[in-house]
Symmetry: C2
């Protein structure tokens, strides 16, 4: 089968054998925004030479702005519920193929505002397979970081923080960016830790953000250090306000899923705050999609 992880900014395709192992994989910066509705043509190019009839897709491709809109499955959601709620499509451009779209998950729980995810649920399904049936906290850092609680093999709770996007817009479009070296992308541990410590002080994020400016104006931090300071400040606020810190007793560890680079910063912050971490690759998506396909009986 072919597993497709198609998000807002990138497209990943995996060819899997009967056991779910990855035979081959490809990646392109062809997120649903970039390919402007040409979903069939884009997919065909990416899976050229792979003639498997069963294609299972997850991510924003199943959203209102994607190929078909698949309604969210509500929490608590287990892999079988996701499998049952998949949408099926036979596009004329892909004769002989069946496309299955994995639904996203919505948490309409305790707050007035629902929280949602699309794409991350496949990685979580794969991780759940490897964990015991107790309660686990999972964090998927990114433009929109997801904090997810699972227990009894079900997704119980979702909470999203706009950390990555706030970092990007503040750096590119606010007065704070003017003090930073726009080329600087290195992780500066000293500056990151200073931001992390600041996030634990009184005054709130809106006040602490202004402190990024004064730290630059008063030359406490250089143009090369300020990006890491801002990152530490935002990630610190995200973690301290997350479900992790609200739970009593506080969980001793967090499972991190994502790219090496982002995970390093989050792991650094969590360890500094006394939380253990286990890292997992975002390639979990392929295994999760395989598991969901299996539960739907597509691999018989």
């Amino acid at each position: 089968m072919i597993a497709v992880d198609w998000g807002t900014s990138s497209l990943r395709v995996y060819r899997l054998d009967a056991g779910g192992a990855v035979i081959s994989q490809r990646r392109a910066d062809l997120g649903i925004t970039a390919c402007q509705g040409q979903f069939a043509a884009t997919l065909l190019t990416q899976i050229e030479g792979w003639d498997d009839p069963c294609i299972v897709l997850s991510g924003m491709i199943g959203s209102r702005h994607g190929w078909v809109e698949v309604p969210y499955v509500d929490c608590p959601a287990d892999p079988a519920a996701l499998a049952a709620a998949m949408a099926c499509l036979h596009p004329p451009e892909l004769p002989g193929r069946t496309l299955w779209f994995v639904p996203g998950v919505a948490d309409r729980g305790d707050s007035q505002t629902p929280d949602v995810m699309r794409g991350e649920e496949t990685q979580i399904c794969a991780l759940m397979d490897a964990l015991n049936h107790g309660c686990h906290m999972i964090c998927l850092p990114g433009t929109h970081s997801k904090w997810v609680t699972v227990s009894q093999g079900r997704i119980d709770n979702i909470s999203t923080a706009m950390t990555g996007e706030v970092y990007a817009v503040m750096r590119q479009h606010s007065l704070l960016g003017a003090l930073m070296n726009p080329e600087e992308t290195r992780f500066d541990a000293f500056a990151f830790d200073a931001g992390l410590r600041r996030s634990g002080m009184p005054g709130g994020l809106l006040h602490h953000l202004f402190g990024v400016r004064t730290a630059g104006l008063f030359q406490q931090l250089s143009a090369n250090e300020l990006p890491s300071y801002l990152s530490g400040l935002l990630i610190g606020h995200e973690i301290r306000a997350s479900e992790l810190f609200l739970r009593v007793p506080r969980p001793a560890q967090v499972h991190l899923i994502g790219s090496d680079r982002l995970l390093s910063a989050y792991a650094h912050a969590l360890v500094a705050l006394g939380i253990g971490v286990q890292r997992h690759s975002e390639q979990l998506a392929a295994a999760g999609i395989h598991r969901i396909a299996q539960l739907r009986g597509l691999l018989d």
Copy 2:
């Protein structure tokens, strides 16, 4: 004399009589960024027909990016200290005139990161003249909102929140803006109050910001309501994390200085949170500059 309030985005000039009353005033969108170093020419145009020899300027015009950089006066700062630290200039383009630049104020107090203001101190000096010598809390909402504590006729404490700038960049450059009507500028009390209530719930600002998106996606709020929701959310976070909520006992009222439009939103929020407000016009700047000039002996 002539009082000049020259900030990043606007230039206000006031002609004052010997008692400090405003005889005439003008305003232009000629902040220090817009006039590109042409300070003398810009000022001459604005004060045309006013031949008073004494001109006192305050605001970002006295910053590193202004006409001359006047060092900050440290907290606790009283009007006499500001008067004593003014910088003097006799530009050849303005023969027969003396220009005096009011310094900004820096708070290098309890946090590692200093906080600063330039321009607001003149409004505060004018307000202090009208208040008793007790402790008062003053809020000057704006792109960078200032929370200032005064006591014994001195500025004790400054804390800045980037509320206005975060609102603007999130609305113009983030995914949140995509769900909003870009033309909408009305204050929607229902949506504002919903944002204000949300700011008091767990999860933190970075999580609550994502809720602006889901409130739009799930059609809980319309494209016309979302801007006020975002505003209530940010102002709520600002107020709840401010010095006001850190003090024990909590001050019963706050003095607000600023434009009618902004003050309305802040007054609405503060009253909803059980805090009394007294509003003051930003024209206080003229009276404050007059008071500082008097203390320096410029009006003898």
